[in-house]
């Protein structure tokens, strides 16, 4: 089985990260934005996993598990918040959520 070089993992992770960031910046639906954020988090996970494999060290893998767990909690909370906002409005476009400014 051919080894995938570390650099390739890093490049892939960076690409995923940037896609996530751009997604966050261009989409206006909070749920889509959350998905973009998940992509960024997972790009980090990929880097952890790649290094863990490279070092033959379990710590990075454990870190990935923890990030995934936290991400689940984070998703639950953010979706609850989005629902809360939905209930008081017709639709949710983050550009309209700007009562507070200045």
């Amino acid at each position: 089985m051919p080894q995938v070089p570390l650099a390739d993992y890093l490049i892939l992770a960076t690409v995923l990260f940037v896609i996530g960031l751009v997604g966050f910046l261009v989409r206006r639906n909070p749920i889509t934005m959350l998905m973009a954020i998940e992509l960024m988090w997972n790009a980090g996970n990929l880097v952890f996993a790649a290094f863990a494999r490279n070092f033959g060290d379990m710590t990075g893998q454990v870190f990935v598990f923890i990030v995934i767990t936290v991400a689940a909690a984070e998703a639950a909370i953010s979706l609850a918040i989005v629902v809360m906002v939905f209930r008081h409005r017709e639709d949710v476009d983050v550009d309209d959520i700007s009562v507070m400014r200045g």
Partner: protein
């Protein structure tokens, strides 16, 4: 091979006490839906004091547990005290009649407590995993707390903005941590200092992204934009907690990172100095002409975060003492100011508006005098804690090379600008009252306790600073 890790329960006793308190609050809330919320918050306060009692034997000791991943040492101790103090005062302010808690006091109190646990973990974390877990525990609970005023549109907005931007910042943090892990081959900060010594793109890139995550939580410009909106939208007691506890916990992380990793060479921290200078400018200038006190204090907090960075200048020269002193001063004056806002309106949100303070000096001279004390301290007038704190910060920065001097100059200029901001508030209190001034007749004993705590702290640290300095 699986190694068993011995856990020293003494070291995490304060955390355990708080966890138990949080669970107890939830259980009591579950068993008796009719329990008055003051009871739940009272349990929380007792638990917070018990956690403090559990910390007393740890004072002056250098202990670690979880295989060195969590420390309770002379470094974390003062930050832990500040966190528990903030928790106590926030819970006390939540007891007020008009305080918002989302009509769910059990969950509200438990979340505040869990937030504090996150802070304690951050203060003691010596690995990236500890930092990540502590940070997320703190943040996730705060996202919900920001929205507990949810009948108000601004509170919903605050929660949504906070959770989206906070998660975005966490994305940078995780990616940065991954790169740091890659550069050092380990997640412990101690190992990272070797990587820092070697330099290299992995480490530098990782640190830059890590710094973004931390700077976001600290509200350092240009990562500060969420702060005013979230502070304004969150319920008053939550804002008070955010303003103080998050800064204390994150500065603990930043300081530990700076000392452990950059103890030998702080040149990689130059961007942090730039962020500090930017924050002092943005915070002080942005506070001009704000009409909402929570928003004004948010901008003030941005500037104060910038000031606090000065304590890290010239790493290794007694900066921690300066940092803790200014954080303590910051805690007392901010908690005091928030407590005054809560006091006169009995916890309502109307009194966050500056217009409510017109003529306060004539209606409630004592309250106005105390509010003036807190704002004089924020401005850094002698005989208050803020003054001594700024003197210490300047002393720290002046010996730290050109960037230190630049930050010192920014602090002085920023302070001058801030006089305008803070004296504006004081001036409002002495201006003739409007005919339709909102009633400011709240007088609850519990808020007086909080105000008095702030006032005593500000004055004691301002007049007898050695009381604290001698122990740092």
């Amino acid at each position: 091979m699986i190694q068993s890790v011995a856990i020293d329960w003494n070291v995490i006793a304060p955390v355990v006490v708080l966890v138990a308190t949080g669970l107890l609050v939830l259980v009591v809330d579950l068993l008796s839906r009719s329990a008055p919320r003051q009871l739940l918050y009272g349990i929380g306060i007792v638990g917070s004091l018990a956690a403090f009692a559990a910390m007393l034997p740890l004072r002056g000791q250098e202990l670690t547990t979880f295989g060195g991943a969590f420390a309770s040492d002379s470094f974390s101790w003062p930050f832990d005290v500040l966190l528990l103090l903030t928790l106590t005062i926030s819970l006390a302010l939540s007891c007020l009649g008009k305080a918002e808690d989302g009509a769910n006091p059990g969950a509200y109190a438990a979340l505040l407590i869990f937030c504090t646990i996150g802070g304690l973990i951050l203060a003691g974390a010596t690995t990236l995993i500890g930092i990540f877990l502590g940070l997320e525990e703190l943040s996730l609970a705060l996202y919900v707390l920001a929205g507990t005023g949810y009948p108000r549109r601004s509170s919903q907005e605050a929660a949504l903005k906070y959770v989206l931007l906070g998660s975005l910042a966490s994305g940078f943090l995780i990616f940065g941590m991954a790169l740091l892990y890659g550069s050092a081959g380990s997640i412990s900060l101690a190992a990272m200092s070797h990587a820092a010594y070697a330099g290299g793109p992995l480490f530098i890139g990782g640190f830059a992204l890590f710094l973004v995550g931390v700077a976001f939580k600290l509200a350092l410009a240009p990562f500060h934009l969420w702060t005013p909106d979230v502070y304004e939208g969150s319920p008053l007691a939550v804002t008070a907690f955010m303003a103080v506890a998050v800064k204390a916990a994150m500065f603990a992380v930043l300081a530990r990172f700076a000392y452990v990793v950059f103890g030998h060479d702080a040149s990689a921290l130059v961007p942090l100095w730039i962020l500090a200078i930017l924050s002092m400018i943005v915070g002080n200038v942005g506070a001009i002409r704000q009409t909402n006190l929570k928003r004004l204090l948010a901008f003030s907090g941005i500037a104060q975060a910038g000031y606090l960075v000065l304590a890290l200048a010239g790493v290794g020269r007694g900066g921690v003492a300066t940092l803790v002193f200014y954080l303590a001063a910051y805690a007392f004056m901010n908690l005091g100011a928030f407590a005054v806002i809560a006091l006169i309106g009995n916890g309502d949100e109307l009194h966050a508006d500056l217009s409510a303070y017109r003529g306060l000096a004539f209606r409630r001279p004592m309250v106005a005098a105390l509010m003036m004390l807190f704002f004089l301290s924020l401005a850094g007038i002698p005989a208050t804690a803020g003054f001594i704190g700024k003197v210490l910060l300047l002393g720290q920065a002046m010996g730290a090379g050109p960037w230190g001097v630049a930050m010192a100059v920014a602090l002085i200029v920023g302070t001058l600008v801030s006089f305008y901001v803070y004296f504006q508030v004081i001036w409002q209190m002495f201006a003739p009252a409007d005919a339709e001034a909102v009633a400011s007749d709240g007088n609850a004993a519990v808020s007086w306790v909080a105000v008095a705590a702030g006032a005593v702290g500000v004055l004691l640290l301002g007049i007898v600073p050695q009381l604290l300095l001698a122990h740092l």
